[in-house]
C-alpha cells in the first residue's frame, strides 16, 4: 500500500475513534458524579456522647407538630412568608449532645444517599432536617459527631457546632479542618452562606447559593440561645409556594429569635421530619419535581437519643 494512502486511512480513523473516546469519557464522568457510590468510611461510635444524653426519657408526649419529654421540647409552627409555606421548629434541649448528625446508610462517601425520613428512622430521630449533602461535592469540611471525614476546604463559610452546642461560622481559608477539631468543633457543615450573626441578617437581597438567583425551597438551622435552636424549612417550586430567597429566609430566622443562622442544602433536598412524619412538601422526586416526593440525600441533622454507629 502506498505510504500516502496508509496515512490517509489513519487520519480517517481518528474522527470516529476520538468521538468514541469523548463519549466514553463523558459517560464515565457523568456516571461517576451522579450514580456511582464510593464508600470511604463507615460511621463508628460517636466521640461526643455525654452521660446525660445517653438516658432516654420515658414520659414523652407528642402531637403532629410537637414533641416534649424531660430533655427535649420541639414545637413546629407554620407561617406564610411571601406566598410560601414556612415551617419553623423551635427546639429546646437539656443537653447539647441531643443535637446530632447522621450519614446515609451509616457510611461516609459519595453518591451514598437515603431520604431524610429513612435516615431519621435509622437513628430513631425525634426531629430531623436534611444536612449539607456533602457527598455531592468534592470539597468542604465534613466533621460529624467529632469525627473528621473530609479536610478539603470549600469556598463557603463552614458551620461549626462545638461540644457545648454553640454554632458559629468559620472561614475555611483561615481554619483547617483539624484546627476546627482542636477548637472543639464536633459538627461541621459546608454549604452556606451564613444567614444571621449576632441577631442581624448578614446576607443581601442579591446573595444566592452558587449561580441561583431565584426563590427556592430552603433549609436552615440557627441558634437562639444556650441549648435553644431554630430549624426552618420552606416549601417552594410549587403553585402553592413560590419559595424564599436567602435574605427572606434569614429574616424568618431573625423574626423567630435566632442570633445565628446558617443555610443548608435546599431545593429538592429540603425536608423536615417530626416523629417519623414529613412535615413539609418536598419537591425532590426528580422528573416533574412532584410535591411530597423526598430526595435521597447524604446526611441529616437531628434531635434524638440514639447515636449512629453506637
Amino acid at each position: 500500500m502506498p505510504k500516502s494512502k496508509h496515512r490517509l486511512k489513519k487520519i480517517l480513523k481518528f474522527g470516529p475513534i476520538y468521538a468514541l473516546t469523548l463519549l466514553s469519557l463523558t459517560g464515565y464522568t457523568a456516571a461517576d458524579t451522579f450514580l456511582v457510590s464510593h464508600s470511604i468510611a463507615t460511621v463508628k461510635a460517636s466521640k461526643t456522647t455525654s452521660s446525660t444524653a445517653a438516658t432516654v426519657a420515658t414520659n414523652a408526649t407528642s402531637t403532629s407538630t410537637s414533641y416534649k419529654d424531660d430533655n427535649i421540647s420541639i414545637t413546629i409552627k407554620t407561617e406564610t412568608v411571601n406566598n410560601t409555606k414556612v415551617y419553623v421548629a423551635d427546639i429546646v434541649v437539656s443537653d447539647s449532645s441531643y443535637l446530632k448528625s447522621a450519614l446515609a446508610q451509616s457510611t461516609y462517601g459519595t453518591n451514598i444517599t437515603e431520604t431524610t425520613s429513612d435516615q431519621a428512622e435509622d437513628v430513631d430521630a425525634i426531629f430531623a432536617i436534611n444536612g449539607d449533602y456533602y457527598g455531592y461535592r468534592n470539597d468542604g469540611y465534613v466533621i460529624r459527631n467529632g469525627t473528621l471525614y473530609r479536610s478539603t476546604a470549600g469556598d463557603e463559610d463552614v458551620l461549626g457546632i462545638d461540644s457545648n452546642g454553640n454554632m458559629a461560622s468559620y472561614d475555611p481559608s483561615e481554619y483547617t479542618a483539624q484546627e476546627l477539631i482542636d477548637k472543639g468543633i464536633v459538627q461541621a457543615y459546608s454549604f452556606g452562606p451564613t444567614l444571621v450573626e449576632n441577631g442581624k441578617v448578614v446576607v443581601s437581597d442579591s446573595d444566592e447559593v452558587g449561580q441561583s438567583m431565584s426563590s427556592n425551597p430552603r433549609t436552615a438551622i440557627g441558634q437562639v440561645g444556650e441549648n435553644h435552636y431554630i430549624a426552618v424549612v420552606s416549601d417552594g417550586r410549587t403553585s402553592e409556594s413560590e419559595g424564599l430567597s436567602l435574605s427572606e429566609l434569614a429574616q424568618v430566622m431573625v423574626d423567630n429569635g435566632a442570633t445565628y443562622a446558617y443555610n443548608l442544602d435546599g431545593g429538592g433536598s429540603s425536608t423536615m421530619v417530626l416523629n417519623g412524619k414529613v412535615i413539609n412538601n418536598p419537591v425532590g422526586g426528580g422528573a416533574g419535581n412532584s410535591t411530597g416526593s423526598e430526595r435521597a440525600v447524604s446526611d441529616i441533622l437531628y434531635i434524638g437519643y440514639k447515636e449512629q454507629g453506637s
Binding site: L25, F34, N138, V209, Q211, S212
Partner: protein
C-alpha cells in the same frame, strides 16, 4: 467550505437550544459554562470562513477540539447547576486546548501546500 459553515451553524444553534432547554428546568440556577457552550462551535464558523484551505489533519484536530470544549463546558454547566463537581472535568479543557494548538499549528502547513 460552505457546507462546513452550514454544519457548524447548525451545531451552534443546537447548543443554544440545548442550553435554553436545560436552563428552563434549572429553577433559576445558571452557569456561565452552560451559557457560553455555543462559543467553540461559533468560533469554528469563523475559522472556516477565515481559512478556506485546510488539510484533513488540521480540520480533524479543530473539529475534535470544538467538540471536546463544548461537551466539557456543557458538562461543567450541568455540574455547576447541580452544585457538584468532578476532577475528571479538567481533562476537557486540557484535551481541547492541545487539539486546538495542534490544529492551529497545522493550518499554515496546509496553506503552503
Amino acid at each position: 467550505m460552505k457546507s462546513s459553515v452550514i454544519k457548524w451553524s447548525i451545531i451552534t444553534v443546537f447548543w443554544i437550544v440545548a442550553l435554553n432547554i436545560y436552563n428552563h428546568f434549572g429553577h433559576g440556577v445558571y452557569s456561565n459554562f452552560m451559557n457560553f457552550v455555543w462559543i467553540p462551535s461559533a468560533i469554528m464558523i469563523i475559522v472556516r470562513l477565515l481559512f478556506t484551505k485546510m488539510d484533513r489533519i488540521a480540520s480533524q484536530l479543530l473539529v475534535a477540539s470544538a467538540w471536546t470544549l463544548s461537551i466539557g463546558m456543557f458538562l461543567k454547566g450541568v455540574f455547576d447547576i447541580a452544585n457538584t463537581s468532578n476532577n475528571l472535568i479538567y481533562l476537557y479543557p486540557f484535551l481541547g486546548i492541545i487539539l486546538l494548538a495542534g490544529g492551529i499549528i497545522r493550518i499554515p502547513y496546509a496553506q503552503h501546500q
